[in-house]
């Protein structure tokens, strides 16, 4: 097309071919430069302005090189020279159009690849979160607790079927609540305590007279909010330590206070044996995972406190009211 146009303007076909060759050789070179540059440096959308400047400079440079080269080769051909001079703006426009097109295509191509990579990464991190969540769920659903509860039900079914039925109902309600998916969901203290009570009732059936519990919560705190399933793992921990670390009766005390309606403070205590506790590797998984969850939710690492004095092990959590 380039050649045909030049011949049409009365230029020697031989010169036209050379002109066309030089123009497109330079252009191909530019395209290559654009490709290489964008491959290693893909500017963001915000920096797109610089790309335009850069493309403009490339176009100017190209035109300059092409025109000079042609002037140099055919310095004796006057009619071609005058046509060359006249064609500078046209050549420039042509260059700018082509450079811009190539740049845009290249940039868009890279952009799409990057987006795809982003998508992959997002998907990956989402699946990580999900796995972590599932892991958490598995943790909450202690198989030990479940199988022993089922064994108790099996025992009750023979001797006291009514109680067996009640325990099945409590266990189901508790499990349904545990299987809730949204870890971020907030729940009123009243509702969480109701669920906790189900759990405590089941454990009391299992352990009989050994397990006692006291729940002391300020009336006016009952509507304050906390993340779902924060208390149950802590109480589970308290029961586990209380029951397996000591002999005789175990009393779990759960206290709730609100501080200026800005903080909800809950403490859970259980008896323990300081002399054998050291070897049980400290705080236990339950407390660590709650600490982690509260950190993820509130970006604060000091929301869980542990106190050990005399024969009492106490965990205190502070939930900000947003």
């Amino acid at each position: 097309m380039h050649i045909y146009l030049l011949v049409d303007f009365g230029i020697d076909p031989k010169i036209a071919v050379v002109d066309s060759f030089i123009t497109h050789f330079i252009f191909a070179l530019t395209s290559f430069i654009i490709y290489i540059t964008l491959k290693y440096y893909q500017p963001s959308k915000e920096n797109f302005f610089y790309i335009r400047i850069w493309a403009l400079l490339l176009a100017i440079g190209n035109t300059f090189v092409i025109v000079n080269a042609l002037q140099y080769i055919y310095v004796s051909d006057a009619s071609y020279q005058s046509l060359l001079d006249k064609s500078i703006p046209l050549r420039f426009c042509y260059q700018i159009l082509m450079v811009a097109t190539i740049t845009l295509i290249q940039w868009l191509g890279n952009y799409m690849l990057e987006q795809q990579g982003d998508g992959d990464r997002k998907q990956q991190s989402e699946s990580f979160t999900k796995e972590a969540e599932l892991y958490n769920l598995r943790q909450q659903l202690q198989p030990h607790f479940l199988f022993n509860s089922l064994n108790s039900i099996s025992s009750l079914a023979g001797s006291r079927p009514e109680e067996a039925r009640k325990m099945i109902q409590q266990l189901s309600e508790f499990l349904r609540h545990t299987l809730r998916k949204d870890e971020k969901q907030l729940i009123t203290l009243q509702d969480e305590l109701y669920q906790l009570n189900l759990y405590l009732e089941i454990e009391k059936v299992r352990f009989g007279n050994r397990l006692k519990s006291v729940v002391l919560v300020d009336e006016n705190c009952s509507q304050l909010l906390l993340p779902v399933l924060i208390l149950q793992p802590l109480v589970e921990n308290a029961i586990k330590f209380g029951l397996y670390d000591t002999l005789g009766e175990v009393e779990i005390v759960i206290q709730g206070k609100c501080m200026d309606r800005k903080w909800l403070q809950i403490s859970i205590s259980n008896p323990f044996d300081p002399s054998t506790h050291a070897q049980n590797s400290g705080t236990g998984f339950g407390i660590d995972s709650i600490k982690r969850r509260l950190y993820l939710l509130y970006a604060n690492n000091d929301l869980v406190q542990i106190e050990m004095k005399d024969n009492l092990f106490l965990v205190r959590i502070n939930i900000p009211q947003l």
Partner: protein, 245 residues
């Protein structure tokens, strides 16, 4: 029909009731006592010398395995537990059977039949050697020792140990103010204690790294307590490895 006696050891009352209920089908098995922890279990076994025991694993203070270690000539053991991860260990402890809670009446009957066959015949218990070996390989490290002292059961934190000394079929466990005996081998302790913290310095001695006061090469190491413990050539090599000298 031959009569059998048994003791049930489980910290959950309903779990014990279930075993009793299932046992009602066997008029020749008498329940001597129900125990809610390992300490009661040790006493009851000493008192009644039963033919068999039903034993839970997770119990207050000492678990079922630790309890078994305290008994000189243990009766036939049927483990009843919600954990399946202990099966290997159970057979290592010469368990006769292993019932996973919640278990059915049929499964329970099978266990009892197995027990009766076994106790009825004069032959030894079936060889679990392969199983025991497998269990030994994957067994976890000890976190404490449970020992018997006079009639009391003592739970010893590892940090209380000053050193271990071979003593015939027993191991002497030396602490600051007491020496306990446990029927185990030096090899057992070498394998089940963290090699970084406990070093076998001699065929007959294992010492905790934290107790070392001074090394008197090539024959002795002096402990914090002032006790001089002999070390062997290979023991000295191990000692140097652990202490990085």
């Amino acid at each position: 029909m031959k009569k059998y006696t048994c003791v049930i050891i489980d910290d959950e009352p309903l779990a014990r009731s279930l075993v009793i209920e299932y046992l009602q089908a066997f008029s020749n098995i008498e329940v001597m006592q129900e125990c809610s922890d390992g300490f009661e279990g040790v006493k009851a076994i000493a008192q009644h010398n039963p033919d068999m025991i039903f034993l839970d694993v997770q119990m207050p203070k000492i678990n079922g395995f630790e309890m078994l270690e305290l008994i000189e000539n243990p009766p036939a053991v049927i483990f009843t537990t919600a954990f399946d991860v202990y099966a290997m260990k159970a057979f290592e402890a010469n368990a006769l059977d292993y019932l996973l809670k919640p278990f059915s009446k049929e499964r329970f009957h099978k266990a009892i039949e197995k027990m009766m066959n076994q106790l009825g015949s004069s032959q030894d218990r079936p060889a679990y050697d392969a199983l025991v070996e497998a269990a030994n390989e994957q067994e976890e490290l000890l976190t404490r020792l449970v020992v018997k002292h006079h009639q009391a059961v003592v739970v010893l934190p590892l940090m209380d140990i000053q050193y271990l000394e071979a003593y015939g079929d027993y191991i002497k466990i030396h602490t600051a103010n007491q020496v306990y005996l446990k029927k185990k081998t030096m090899n057992y302790f070498e394998q089940h204690l963290n090699a970084k913290d406990f070093i076998r310095v001699h065929r007959s001695y294992i010492i905790p790294a934290k107790e070392i006061q001074k090394i008197d090469p090539p024959d002795f190491v002096i402990l914090r307590s002032g006790i001089k413990v002999p070390i062997s050539k290979t023991g000295y090599g191990k000692l140097k490895g652990v202490l990085g000298i």
